[in-house]
Amino acid sequence: MASSNPYKTYLNIWLLLMFLTFITVYVAQFDFGTLNVPIALLVASIKAGVVALYFMHLKYEDSMTWIFATYPLFLLFLLIAFSATDIFTRVAN
């Protein structure tokens, strides 16, 4: 592992996660209209990314592991993109 003191890194990451959780809870009292869901998803994605990078050690892995870890994100994009294309281009009878 690259870091000389992994426990310190883990602690910092944990603090970051707690801070992001606080943000999620804090912003929940404001109404941003259509941005409500994107904001919640953005914060959640940052948290998931940090967990994958540090707690799941992705940051220290080789390119093959990166391909396996990120390809499903591409598939998720396809699932959403194709389904959304259907839903937004449908013509009601």
Partner: protein, 532 residues
């Protein structure tokens, strides 16, 4: 386990009794147990299909009520798909063969492998428990009916959810094994094509299965808690279920067929005594299929009311997925060209695979064409197409494997003559069952209907008679396999693949010394083979 013990005894002898099997870490024993399990479920689901066909001997009620009929086709579909054909070849022969073919003593995570099998058993049990109030939705669980029906949808879908974990864990095990455990010298371009196919299959299992798991959880959530994912009255979208369901279930078609294609790539060179033609093309086409298969799911939904634009996009990509499939077929044919072809039972099943799978594949293109699909959607044409691919393809591939690796698996030989008679009956019976269904479909006979118009009677009867021929063929095949006629030597078919380099059946830990690979897996008719 002492060192010498694991090499003196073969894997079938090494430990007796239920516990030695149910707690084994040995990939070969797990492969054999999967083979037994899928065999039992195949018989169960086949019995349901015989009853379905019997019901269609005449219009109206023949032997079962309309509700029982709905239950029978759901049971047939759900058991065949989730308990038999998805684990199917990959879990049984994948487990048995991959470590042998890559020169390893086991898969990389043997305990995880056993755990996958237990999960498979648990999922199967949960699914079968639903028979207390059997489901009548069809194996696709389409909303809104699956939300409204009073039958046991939650139990079945939860069973499928659990089975998914078995599939994912097996996939991970195979992928990592092939990355980490290949013998020295066994480079990716020397890897047997069955392994390439199993690798592509594993990718699909790992990447696609979570989506169906989540989809079925959403369905359970909607059914149990009244959440509104798919109900338009609550802001949901019923077509969304179909999107999510087929996002898994179309790649799943390739989970079912790819390992069988791998088998054909192994059997044909051995019985043609020629190196496989277009090794790289076959290997990479497996990966191409795995990648493109994620982009075609909407062709199941052309008449669902999805948008015209997305219909066109899915239709075009569907035609693209036919290309890597056709590449394989042409390469198999070219492998046989000017070869010294021996029509053994395994080879006959492989040849039948090419013939029947080509019919199944080409009729798939009819269904992928938008205008034709409007006419053919949800008719018997689809039923026939799908069975030509799944039986004509996967099941014939599985039968080819069962006969080809029979000497390796059991250390015995079967009666080739009887096996060939069984093959002939199965081949004829299969075509008599399903070819008339193409015609029925083009004439407008809808699938899953209990009743039918009188003008369809003769073709329905012909199709039902075919199941009787097919049934006799299956029984004769089983009789042949359960009545071995002699002891097999280590390599009766003179294969040059690694799994034949050890005694039959293999010792528990496979290789006393991990081999070093210096040549291709398909060196037939070359200097290397003649010197061997």
């Amino acid at each position: 386990m002492s060192h010498s013990h694991s090499f003196d005894k073969h894997y079938l002898e090494d430990g007796k009794g239920f516990k030695s099997w149910f707690f084994t870490h040995d990939h070969k024993r797990l492969g054999v147990m999967y083979l037994w399990a899928i065999g039992i479920f195949f018989v169960l689901a086949a019995i349901a299909s015989f009853l379905i066909r019997f019901e269609h001997l005449s219009p109206g009620q023949t032997i079962v009520s309309a509700q029982t009929y709905n239950v029978l086709f759901t049971l047939h579909g759900a058991v065949m798909v989730f308990l038999f054909i998805v684990p199917g070849v990959a879990a049984s022969f994948g487990n048995f063969l991959i470590p042998l073919m890559i020169g390893a003593r086991d898969v990389i995570f043997p305990k995880l492998n056993l755990y996958s099998f237990w999960i498979y058993c648990a999922g199967s049990l949960i699914l079968l428990l639903s028979l207390a109030a059997p489901v009548d939705t069809g194996w696709t669980f389409y909303t809104p009916y699956s939300i409204d029906t009073g039958t046991n949808v939650i139990l079945v879908t939860f069973g499928v959810f659990v089975l998914g974990f078995s599939s994912i864990l097996t996939g991970i095990n195979f992928i990592v094994s092939m990355h980490k455990l290949r013998a020295p010298g066994l480079t990716w371009d020397r890897l047997p094509l069955f392994c390439w196919a199993a690798y592509a299959t594993s990718l699909l299992q790992v990447l696609a299965t979570p989506v169906v798991g989540i989809t079925l959880l959403l369905l359970i959530g909607e059914r149990y808690f009244g959440l509104g994912f798919f109900d338009p009255a609550k802001g949901g979208d019923p077509v969304l279920f179909q999107h999510f369901f087929w996002f898994y279930s179309h790649p799943a078609v390739y989970i079912m067929i790819l390992p069988a294609m791998g088998i054909i790539s192994e059997v044909i060179p051995v019985f043609s005594r020629k190196p496989i033609f277009g090794y790289k093309a076959i290997a990479y086409s497996s990966l191409a299929i795995a990648l493109i298969s994620f982009l075609v799911w909407g062709h199941h939904m052309f008449t669902s009311g999805q948008s015209k634009l997305i219909n066109i996009i899915f239709s075009v990509i569907t035609f693209a997925v036919a290309v890597p499939t056709a590449i394989k077929v042409f390469n198999w044919l070219w492998t046989m060209y000017k070869g010294s072809v021996e029509l053994s039972t395994a080879m006959l099943y492989s040849l039948a695979f090419i013939f029947l799978f080509t019919i199944g594949g080409l009729t798939g293109l009819f269904l992928g064409a938008l205008a034709a699909d409007i006419h053919l959607h949800d008719t018997y044409f689809v039923v026939a197409h799908m069975h030509y691919v799944m039986i004509g393809g996967t099941v014939f591939g599985l039968f080819s494997a069962i006969h080809f690796w029979y000497p390796k698996m059991w250390g015995k030989m079967f009666d080739e003559f009887k096996a060939k008679i069984a093959f002939t009956l199965i081949f004829i019976g299969f075509n008599v069952v399903f070819f008339p269904q193409f015609i029925l479909g083009t004439q407008g006979m809808p699938r899953r209907y209990f009743n039918y118009a009188p003008e369809f009677e003769s073709l329905h009867q012909l199709s039902t008679y075919g199941t009787w021929i097919l049934g006799v063929g299956f029984i004769l095949m089983l009789y042949t396999l359960f009545k071995p006629v002699g002891v097999a030597d280590s390599n009766p078919y003179r294969s040059v693949s690694l799994e034949w380099s050890m005694p039959s059946p293999p010792p528990t830990l496979n290789f006393e010394e991990i081999p070093t690979v210096t040549t291709s897996t398909y060196d037939y008719g070359t200097k290397v083979e003649q010197e061997a």
